[in-house]
Amino acid sequence: MENLTVGAAAEWIRSVILLILGNELLTDVVMKFVGLGACIGVILTAAIVLTYAERKVCAFMQVRLGPNRVGGRFGLLQPIADMLKLMSKEDIIPDGCDRIVWALSPMLLFVPSALIYGLFPFDEGVVFADVNVGVFLLLAISSQSVLPFLMGGYASNSKYAFIGGMRTVAQMLSYEAPMVFSLLGVVMITGSMRMTDIVAAQAENVWFVLLQPIAFIIFIISATAETNRTPFDLVEDESEIVAGPFAEYSGMRWALFFLAEYANLLSISILTTTFFLGGWHGPFLPGVFWFWMKVLFMVFVFMWFRWTFPRTRIDQMLSFSWKVLLPLALVNMMFTGIGVYVWRSMM
């Protein structure tokens, strides 16, 4: 059983590298790169798996079959075909766009989405950077993804893209606040911002979804908004502003936006799992199985949202954030504070 875990695999790779290099320090440096590669690998694999999953989930919800031609009757090679199609597409550069900003936008968008994978505890001891201000760093990095949207929207020289860019700023700023306050409840109970501590605290007691049900719901809603998925996909919004900031991108540049979207989808599922569903903990099976089972369940929930809900309107969405979610999160925080105080004084 022990051999199956990621930690064991990492140990084995490390011993092999140590055998080759023969230097502890050099090995550690190389191991960091291995970890980095693993994170990127997770993202790319997730993009492939999730595109296929999204198509299939969506198809079954819509009483269709979904991909069923490429790669057998289940269309297993569909993501590969999609990828090849995107790569072979013409790179169309819109007339009158701000070339540098326009070209930077998809790359910059991918950076924060990929960066936060360094903070996720995938299993016992499997975390790239276990910093003591993990939650804080995570929120700081993920909020950077506003800028590329705005850049893309501004630089595309298209009104649809510009409206989309403006909407992104309004939407992401509004939902950042309730998301932070909902996480604070968890941090207050744990007493630490370190991600592994949060998971450990849930292993000792109960999952935080039971202790913090309101925070859980607020987090799910604002995470959906942060990743621009239905019912809050006003940024792309194909029926109103066509595709928002992505409207003028094609080929690989568009694929990067796509990749970032799925990286974000996976990362919010991982975050939900880590903060509220007890991370890698679970009986009988090794941690990595539990972790991915929970994550994939959350991914399914987010897909479920997407294919059943209509889209909200921008004003409804913003007022929902500021008038409902934020006060609720603050009240939740207050009660958590009282609860934690009472609990500590009783102990």
């Binding site: 239905t230 029926s239 109103e240 889209r311």
Partner: protein
């Protein structure tokens, strides 16, 4: 403080939610719409001119291409006008069959409306569901005339061919199914809080405004005016059937949606009554091989799915009409677009296009 400027946004003709090739020039202040100007003609094929160079019988398939989602109703309207002009008496069985297929087509068209409104509001699953159920109606039409889209089934003097027992049996089965799938839409769309909040109180239109734009069909009925040509004129065999004119109260998008939603039940009611009372007899009147209506003119109107469909035909006594004018409901209804969009947000404009339910084949003719 910096000054603000308004800007113009051209929605369409290539835009996913303009139902074909409508172009709307939106004057925007941020996200708020100051005015919406519909610009059409991207699908103009000159059907009125084409009909002048075809005989009356040859003209029927052209009407299929007007409102291609409810072709039966267009055939019905055109054939009624020609029959009135030529003084042809249509056998009763043919009238019943016409009503059956026209009402089935109305259901199909309203299903497309529900689906397209759903997808315009981002609920693409709702659209797939309605299209799944519309498929059953198309299969019925396939049985009856061999076509699924442009039927050319209703002819001058009757219908193309008699209905088979299989069709009647399957239509009954379909009618059984109607409440089932309507319940499903209720669950996925009507009961959804977001869907409600997107439609309620949006694009409100008073009775007076609706009248001043001469809106017809579900759009005027949503404001509370029971204006339904089937009742008002009582053409064909409609007076024999018991059905209600569905009206709304507030004239907002929610009412427009609900009017169409409930009209599906009313249409199903008509179809059932027509099937029950389907008389025996010929399905085609004796129409001369070369149809030469006497000199004169006629204005005949029927209730199309989108409103009042009128045909004005001038005959000079020859085999071809001298002039045909089609009063297209979508075209006239488009006048209300500005009032429906002004003062609302971009997101509402999409719902307004959908709620007006224009079909560009009909608007541009």
């Amino acid at each position: 403080m910096a000054g603000t400027e308004t800007y113009t946004l051209n929605m369409g003709p290539q835009h996913p939610s303009t139902h074909g090739v409508l172009r709307v020039q939106l004057e925007l202040d941020g996200e708020n719409i100051l005015s919406a100007k519909p610009i059409m003609g991207y699908l103009h094929r000159g059907i009125e001119k084409l009909l002048e160079s075809r005989t009356y019988v040859q003209g029927v398939p052209y009407t299929d291409r007007l409102d291609y989602v409810s072709s039966m109703n267009n055939n019905f309207g055109f054939c009624r006008a020609v029959e009135e002009l030529a003084g042809i008496e249509v056998p009763e069985r043919a009238e019943y069959i016409r009503v059956i297929v026209a009402e089935l087509n109305r259901i199909a068209s309203h299903l497309v409306f529900i689906g397209s409104l759903a997808i315009d509001l981002g609920a693409s699953t709702g659209m797939l569901y309605t299209f799944r159920d519309r498929e059953e109606i198309l299969d019925l039409f396939n049985l009856v005339c061999g076509a699924r889209m442009t039927f050319h089934y209703i002819r001058v003097g009757g219908v193309n061919r008699d209905v088979q027992p299989e069709f009647i049996e399957k239509t009954y089965k379909f009618l059984e199914h109607v409440p089932v799938f309507m319940e499903e839409y209720k669950k996925i769309l009507l009961g959804n809080e977001i869907f409600m909040s997107r439609l309620k109180g949006i694009s409100k239109m008073s009775k007076e405004t609706a009248l001043s734009h001469n809106m017809t069909g579900p759009n005027i009925r949503a404001t509370g005016i029971p204006y339904d040509i089937r009742k008002v004129d009582g053409y064909s065999v409609y007076p024999r059937f018991d059905f209600n004119v569905v009206t709304g109260k507030n004239g907002d998008n929610w009412d427009r949606f609900n009017v169409r939603y409930n009209e599906i039940f009313e249409s199903a009611k008509i179809v059932r009554q027509a099937l029950d009372g389907l008389p025996e007899g010929p399905f085609m009147a004796k129409v001369p091989k070369v149809l030469r209506p006497p000199k004169g003119e006629v204005f005949s109107r029927t209730e199309g799915t989108r409103g009042e469909l009128g045909f004005y035909i001038v005959s000079d006594g020859s085999t071809k009409p001298y002039r045909v004018h089609i009063r297209r409901p979508s075209f006239v209804n488009m006048q209300g677009l500005n009032d429906m969009c002004r003062g609302y947000l971009i997101g509402d404009s999409v719902a307004a296009f959908s709620a007006i339910d224009p079909l560009m084949g009909e608007v541009d003719c």
